[in-house]
């Protein structure tokens, strides 16, 4: 290890395989000093701007916030807070497009700025060397510092690692075309960056620090060398310009000659890398007590008249930035966030700047023409030569295109850094990286799905086990109870006697009933005769049923006619039975209708209940409720009766038989009375249903009256019950 550090110190540089030399086009933006833009009226602060999980919100709509105030709080691992970029008021918390290739919307805090830019009370630390490592890491976490190179990896996580660090590499390479944000930052804020790096060295205690800068930035190299003067531990190293030398793994390879193992992280080989922008943000957070609320963004491309680097508050919409820098839309409009190699198209100009945004690129169509049609792979092998990760892009292409994910994984798809070098050199214009990204996303989705399936299986098995156990427990309990009963019985002879008595009673009752039947049979002279009569009766009942069906169309008169039919004193038994059957059927039908009506009334009522929020006066409501309840109960009963009546035709006939068999005038009168009562009930039910329907409309009309929570709840419960019943009825009908 010592020899390695000696070798690095001696100025030796390694190389990584592959790489490309795309046109740099940095001169567009690297001559102007970093300036500030006006404050936008509204800032859209995305709650999650880093790799990991979103932190928990601390503010609500209407809160006044000051610049630097935390808007969210860390409660778990891999979380980072966001802060108010300026003072103002939280006017909305909603879904808003985010700085992501998908253009999807996530939770965003909208702050209406007041233009004052009042800061919270900053808590600067004069001498951070007095603070413990944990305190500094906590401060970095609370300040929301994330890697500003483009991935926004939470910085505090890198410093929580307990593995010893040999080399700290400060990444000022900025290899992607167009982008000059780090270049300008190093030229103008070299001393501050060095101070930030010293905070990192205080935390990590590395054996040496290498500040790596591509040799196409002589001004930045000079500035950093000047700032490092007298610090023997710090080495500023100019590295050859080659894309993607700024990739973490490639840079480590260039500086130390070591490769980060597949699936591993740099600290596995004793290396930590930090971006220069991150070092500056850490300096601001610790020494000035200012959380990460703004960053340098390169605004460039031929479509903006004032390209350059700007301090931009996180949450500033891209549209506002472009308006400030003299943007003229190309046709078709083409905007890129990040560089042309690894950036993504901005689908919506309302997208705000986030911690990952290092560049907004507005190229003309001559600069970056839209992609041409993809041709077939000709197996030229250029992509293999260009790949900085030593992969076989053409093989990956075949397998990802064919969706053979397992084979793509065999070719180490996961080690692809998505730098785009292969797509850049491809003569067939195949968007190789897009294929890899799709495949990676699909593999990830598959993995998540598989994990979920495993969990579901586990839960399913656990549930089955539980059900089995419960069943066993129930059986055991029953067994025990039965045994206990048996034991008790054996002990107590009295109980046995009681059972015997009860049995005897039942027997006696049965005998009595049998004798009653016999007497009936006697009344109808003989069994055969009664059987014949029963048959006739049944036929008549059926006829009556047909009549009743006919009468269904005119159901109002039908009741009347049924009454009439019954009104003349029945001289003959069969006539009576017929009438009764008809009435019963009519009743059943009416009841069914009433039930239907009740159903519609209920739906109306649900609507009215929701609308009015029980704006009904309490008395009225109570009345309506009571009525509705009664009505519904009746309707249900009636519906059941109707079913029964229809289903058990024979039973009915039997009852008709019975009615006939009993010649007593009292019985006749009783039956009539009963029928009358039932009729009355059915009518009442129908009326109630009507009334309810009326009332519900009235309720809707009177919805302007004051609300009553209790009745609202009741109404909802009622609505739910009614719905349940309606559904049950419907199911019954379906069957």
């Amino acid at each position: 290890m010592e020899s390695l550090i000696e070798k690095i110190k001696s100025g030796y540089l390694w190389d990584f395989p592959g790489g490309v030399h795309p046109p740099e086009r940095k001169e567009l933006s690297n001559y102007q000093t970093i300036s500030h833009l006006a404050l936008p009226e509204k800032l859209y602060v995305t709650v999650k701007q880093h790799i990991g999980q979103a932190a928990h919100l601390l503010v609500k709509v209407g809160d006044k916030v000051k610049a630097g105030q935390a808007l969210s709080q860390v409660q778990g691992p891999m979380e980072l807070p966001v802060h108010a970029p300026s003072s103002g008021e939280v006017v909305e918390i909603k879904s808003h497009p985010i700085a992501h290739a998908s253009g999807l919307e996530t939770e965003t805090i909208v702050i209406q700025t007041d233009g004052l830019d009042n800061w919270i009370d900053k808590q600067p630390v004069a001498n951070y060397l007095e603070l413990s490592k944990v305190e500094i890491v906590d401060k970095l976490k609370a300040a929301g510092i994330a890697g500003l190179g483009g991935a926004a990896f939470p910085t505090y996580v890198k410093h929580n690692n307990s593995q010893p660090v040999d080399v700290l590499i400060i990444n000022g390479v900025e290899c992607e075309p167009y982008i000059t944000a780090d270049d300008r930052l190093m030229q103008e804020y070299a001393a501050e960056i060095i101070c930030g790096i010293e905070i990192f060295t205080h935390l990590l205690k590395p054996k040496m620090v290498v500040i790596a800068i591509e040799n196409n930035k002589p001004a930045a190299i000079a500035a950093m060398e000047q700032a490092c003067e007298g610090k023997t531990q710090f080495i500023v190293r100019a590295i050859p310009t080659k894309y993607p030398a700024g990739g973490e793994k490639q840079l480590i390879q260039v500086i130390t000659g070591k490769e980060v193992p597949s699936g591993g992280i740099p600290s596995d080989i004793g290396v930590v890398t930090q971006n220069v922008g991150t070092a500056y943000a850490a300096y601001k957070a610790i020494v000035h007590g200012e959380p990460l609320i703004e960053r340098v963004v390169t605004v460039t491309g031929e479509q903006v008249s004032q390209p350059g680097n700007y301090w931009i508050k996180l949450g500033t919409p891209v549209e506002f930035i472009l308006a400030q820098t003299g943007y003229q839309a190309a046709k078709p409009e083409h905007l890129i966030m990040g560089g042309p190699m690894m950036g993504f198209n901005i689908p919506n100009k309302q997208v705000p700047v986030s911690k990952i945004t290092n560049c907004i690129l507005a190229p003309s169509n001559q600069e970056l023409p839209l992609p041409e049609d993809e041709q077939n792979c000709i197996r030229c092998g250029y992509c293999v030569d260009a790949c900085p990760a030593n992969l076989l892009p053409q093989q990956l292409y075949w397998h990802t295109k064919a969706k053979e994910h397992d084979k793509a994984q065999e070719y180490k798809l996961a080690d692809c850094i998505e730098c785009g070098a292969c797509a850049y050199v491809c003569p067939s214009e195949i968007p190789l990286v897009q294929y890899y990204r799709i495949a990676k996303a699909e593999i990830k989705a598959e993995r998540i799905e598989h994990e979920k399936a495993e969990k579901a299986k586990e839960r399913f098995n656990a549930r089955n086990e539980r059900l089995e156990k419960e069943k066993q427990a129930r059986l055991d309990k029953h067994k025990q109870a039965a045994e206990a009963r048996k034991a008790a019985m054996e002990k107590d002879q009295g109980a046995k006697d009681k059972v015997a008595e009860a049995l005897a009673r039942v027997q006696a009752k049965k005998q009595q009933a049998a004798s009653g039947d016999n007497s009936k049979a006697d009344n109808s002279k003989s069994d055969t005769k009664s059987a014949a009569q029963a048959a006739i009766e049944r036929a008549k009942a059926r006829k009556a049923a047909q009549e009743a069906e006919k009468a269904q169309a005119t159901n109002a008169e039908q009741t009347a006619s049924a009454e009439q039919a019954e009104a003349p004193p029945a001289a003959e038994n069969d006539a009576k039975a017929k009438a009764k059957a008809a009435i019963e059927r009519a009743k059943a039908r009416k009841a069914a209708k009433a039930a239907e009506k009740a159903q519609t009334a209920d739906t109306e009522q649900t609507a009215s209940a929701e609308q009015s929020e029980a704006a009904i006066p309490a008395e009225n409501d109570a009345k309506a409720k009571a009525k509705a309840a009664i009505e519904r109960a009746k309707a249900r009963k009636a519906a059941q009766a109707a079913e029964k009546a229809q289903a058990t035709d024979t039973e009915q006939t039997a009852s008709a038989e019975q009615a006939e068999a009993v010649p007593a005038a009292e019985n006749d009168a009783k039956a009539k009375a009963k029928a009358a009562i039932e009729r009355a009930k059915a009518r009442k039910a129908a009326q109630a249903a009507e009334k309810l329907a009326q009332e519900s409309t009235e309720q809707t009309e009177t919805s302007s009256q004051p609300a009553n929570e209790q009745s609202d709840k009741d109404a909802r419960i009622k609505a739910a019950i009614a719905k349940a019943k309606a559904k049950r009825k419907q199911l019954g009908e379906d069957q």
Binding site: P371, K457, K727
Partner: protein, 187 residues
């Protein structure tokens, strides 16, 4: 003659030795259950929805191992059928009930309870095969979205029809890339 006897004895002794060895091996290296069933079960999506006509994924896996059709799993879709076809060495068949129209990737859904309409009847809790619904009698129920397999089994028993099957929202983390690249050209 004696040679014949020796030969018979030798063969007999060998037979006894090997018999004992095989018998021991059978006990010592006993396979608990058909490993094929395990493998098939691994491929199935574990929604436990019963749409295949079997009470859960494992019973269907057993049925496939015993020669049932591989195209009865709607939640798994084409991908699952393809994997099963590979595993079983049979032809890929279109999903049952979709022979005519073109096969589409099944949309993943999960159940949501409209909570203010829930009457707390616990029927959906009893129906859920993975215990992903929490609640108690006469209290509101809700679905643990992360555990829901989207099997649909809770929708039917609900007496007030307050359960919706909604497609899972795409988040930036679960978004799948689309083909749109940024070209870089020498001017």
């Amino acid at each position: 003659m004696s040679i014949l006897i020796y030969a018979l004895i030798a063969i007999g002794v060998l037979a006894v030795i090997f018999g004992a060895l095989l018998g021991y091996a059978q006990i010592r290296f006993k396979v608990e259950s058909d490993p094929l069933v395990e493998q098939i079960d691994e491929v199935l999506p574990q929604t436990q929805c019963g749409q295949c006509g079997y009470p859960g994924c494992r019973p269907y896996a057993e049925a496939i191992a015993n020669g049932d059709d591989i195209n009865k799993c709607p939640p798994g879709g084409d991908a699952t059928i393809k994997k099963l076809a590979d595993m079983m060495g049979v032809e890929v068949k279109p999903l049952v009930g979709s022979e005519d129209n073109t096969q589409q990737e099944p949309i993943k859904k999960v159940a949501y309870i409209r909570e203010d309409e829930c009457i707390g009847c616990t029927k959906c809790i009893q129906a859920c095969p993975v215990d992903a619904i929490v609640g108690a009698a006469k209290h509101m129920h809700t679905v643990i979205i992360d555990e829901c397999t989207g099997c649909d089994l809770c929708v039917e028993p609900c007496p007030v029809d307050c359960i919706d099957m909604l497609p899972i929202e795409t988040k930036p983390e679960t978004w799948r890339w689309q083909m749109n690249s940024i070209p870089v050209k020498n001017l």
